[in-house]
Amino acid sequence: MENVDATKVRRKKKEKPQAELTYVQKIKLTPMGYVFQFINGLFLTLFALACLIPFLNVIGTSFATTKEVLLRDFIIIPHSFSLSAYRYVFSTPTVTRAIGVSVFVTVVGTALSLLVTSLMAYGLSRTYLYGRRVLNFLVLFTMLFSGGMIPSFLIVSNLKLTNTLWALIIPSTVSAYNMIIMRNFFQGISPSLEEAAKIDGANHLQIFGRVMLPLSKASFATIGLFYAVTYWNTYRSAILYLTDTKKWPIQVLLRQIVLMSSGSDFDTGSVEVVPPSQSVRMAVIVVATLPILLVYPFIQRYFIHGAMLGSVKG
């Protein structure tokens, strides 16, 4: 019964997302409330500006000519406008290919991680499960102790994962941190729903798929985002496990460019390089960051969906 309702409600919401206001948004404002709203808005605006300015600086610089970059210390809106940095970045297939690799790793990795993590988190969130505490501690322990890079490398190469893109995905399938957060979310859902479903004869997997999943959109979105960002930023495992540069994800190129430009000559084996211009550096940052930035606004809607469905313990 309940699930039918839940689905219906959800359907309705999908049609009219604008109607999703939290109660907080609907409360009538008192005069003090207006003052509060104003101060709060001002605070958020200022903080947002502080966060935005350096980013505008990066974007502005990427469109400016070399000369302007050198003459002006801090560019937000370039006086000159030039696409040459982007033309340079895309003049070889390297960057496009690397973005392709990153997208693949991010999409497949996030899907796999979400699947394994959510199953595990759900299992471990059931307070009645025997051995739960031990298992939870086992997971937590890995956050504190790690065997280091070399043994991990040996395991990955013994599994014959080296030089495949799976080496960027499988060794980081589950993040203990994300698993714990997700487990917390599941724990926050009222046990009454599970019991009801059990009476209806559902097994654990069915409960997970039909009751918990629809209620956990916000948590799936959050953890999905965390994983996506981690996979997008994959850097270290790429360097360690991939010998074929054609399989490098975008972060490797980004790091190379950013570090090259600030390189010192006394510890790089005294190799002189002609660094790319500041505009190119910034253009690569834009190209390498933009795709992952677009994910967040997209998943934000799930933050609200969850809210409307919360039959949740207080």
Partner: protein, 534 residues
């Protein structure tokens, strides 16, 4: 309704699984492709062995026109630029040297990690670039015998045989020459100074420290850029000063290059030498008088370059090639105006000798090492040495430095002229970090007179180069502790110059250095030196 929902979840799961299976299949495909490739490489290697051992009977002197059998070579090399070189350039090298090269690029910032993993996993390449000889792990590996000792071989190869004894000694560990040295100019440093500022103020190019002081004061006080404002400093220093430029200045005052031998035969570091303290006093005087930029302790190399190009200061102690970089940047800025840089490579104290400290670890940037696990026999080793020798020739050098003639550069007489800087940056530049012998640069003329002059001066530096004596010496304490306690003298330098410490404090910090392991390093190095030099 419930059923349908569950079906959907099931379908989604099935979809994901099918997708992942597909991917595994893809990867398997590429894997098998790879094993085939390596199998075929094995077969080629055996034919090489056979023919190489045959040619050996012809006698060693024939090696210059030895048959260059096709060979697969994998090369683990360091990537200092943003993107690896294009396939076309590598093809050209393959054709030139009759090899089939596969590069495994390691980004410069992660060399240590990647190399540790490779050493631990035994997954190396035929040629491994070992460019961090101060790294304890790399050093131990080079001294362990897992690489071929090439000392007895390289004399058979005309270009490799030219490597100076100092260079060979500097890369030996435990007396083993575990690879072909990466040859660089010995000392590239000097002083570059704004000629147009000197002219404006009616001053001569300084050659002694005493003259330098006068010029520096004039640059600060007499408005050399003629803009009517007192807004210039003279000497542009940066955060690495202690390791680079200041070290040179201490060298002028007689301090050794990092480690030197005292009259009593003790091996001591430069910061215990009297000249070091004298140089510090000079820097303090400079800093207080506004000769040195006030933010030098945090200024990055790039900012230093910009400051030079923008005419914020007029003197830099740096690689002599940098004058051209400053000028080019100024042109980009549209600020070049009258800008002209004079190069000085004979700075000295009045009445004392000229000393140029090696800034390139005695002229070597590490070694190209051949692991015995990959390069199985002498014949294969010889073929690889032949390849490295070929790449040290003028033609090989041009391929790795400038790219393909007609595509990336053209020749005019003995001059190399680059055709398209951007194209070169993306397609060729990465390879120039893997050259075998950078000295070949100086066999060509440069159409830029400034570069031509700095090239000449860098070569001239070799005559009065000061070498670091420590590389061939062994000290366990140095290997483990040096990088940990180096900050004692180093921090004291910056603090003294900026007025936070007195000279007594500096000496106390240096005493601390001795107490925390420095003395042990001195003792161990001294013992090792005596052993080596009788």
């Amino acid at each position: 309704m419930n059923k349908r929902k569950f079906q959907f979840v099931g379908k989604a799961l099935a979809g994901i699984m099918a997708f992942s299976l597909l991917l595994t299949a893809c990867n398997k495909g590429s894997d098998t492709g790879k094993t085939k490739e390596s199998e075929s490489s094995n077969t080629t290697k055996t034919t090489v062995e056979a023919s190489a051992s045959g040619s050996e009977t012809d006698g060693g002197e024939a090696s210059a026109n030895v048959d260059r059998d096709m060979i697969d070579i994998s090369w683990m090399s360091v990537l200092h630029t943003d993107s690896p070189p294009s396939d076309e350039v590598i093809d050209a090298i393959n054709k030139f040297a009759n090899v089939n090269l596969t590069f495994q690029w390691i980004p410069a910032a992660t060399v240590d990690e990647r190399m540790n993993a490779a050493l631990a996993g035994g997954s190396m390449a035929d040629i491994v670039t070992m460019n961090r000889l101060t790294n304890a792990t790399q050093r131990a590996a080079l001294g362990s015998g897992i690489f071929w000792d090439v000392e007895s071989y390289i004399k058979d190869y005309p270009h490799l045989a030219e490597t100076s004894q100092e260079r060979l000694d500097s890369v030996k560990v435990n007396g083993m020459l575990s690879g072909v040295p990466i040859v660089k100019p010995v000392a590239r440093y000097g002083l570059v100074i704004r000629q147009d500022w000197l002219d404006k103020l009616g001053l001569e190019v300084p050659h002694t420290v005493e003259e330098l002081e006068k010029v520096a004061m004039a640059f600060v006080n007499d408005d050399p850029d003629g803009n009517g404002q007192n807004d210039t400093y003279a000497l542009i220093e940066r955060n690495e000063s202690w390791n680079v430029s200041f070290r040179q200045v201490a060298g002028w005052y007689g301090a050794p290059n990092k480690w030197g031998v005292t009259e009593e035969g003790k091996v001591e570091p430069w910061f215990l030498h009297d000249g070091y303290y004298q140089a510090m006093e000079l820097y303090k005087k400079f800093y207080e008088a506004g000769v040195i930029n006030s933010d030098f302790a945090v200024m990055e190399k790039n900012d230093q370059k910009q400051a030079a190009a923008q005419g914020k200061g007029g003197i830099v102690i740096t690689g002599l090639y940098d004058a051209r970089n400053y000028y080019n940047l100024a042109v980009d800025l549209g600020l070049e105006g009258e800008m002209k840089w004079a190069l000085v490579n004979d700075m000295h104290i009045d009445g004392k000798e000229v000393r140029s400290l090696s800034d390139t670890n005695n002229g070597v940037g590490g070694v190209y090492a051949m692991p015995k696990s990959e390069v199985k026999d002498e014949a294969a080793l010889k073929r690889i040495l032949q390849f490295l020798d070929d790449m040290s020739s003028k033609e090989g050098f041009l391929l790795m430095t400038n790219g393909i003639e007609g595509v990336h550069y053209k020749m005019e007489g003995n001059k190399v002229i680059n055709l398209d800087q951007e194209k070169w940056k993306q397609e060729v530049q990465a390879l120039s970090g893997s050259r075998i012998n950078e000295l070949v640069t100086y066999e060509f003329d440069n159409d830029n007179p400034m570069v031509q002059e700095s090239n000449k001066m860098i070569l001239g530096n070799e005559a009065h180069a000061v070498y670091d004596v420590s590389p061939p010496l062994q000290s366990k304490t140095y290997d483990t502790l040096y990088s940990q306690i180096e900050k004692l003298p180093k921090d004291a330098f910056y603090k003294y110059v900026m007025g936070d410490l007195t000279m007594d404090d500096v000496k106390a910090e240096n005493q601390k250095w001795l107490d925390q392991g420095g003395q042990q390093m001195i003792d161990e190095f001294t013992a090792s030196y005596k052993e080596l030099n009788g």
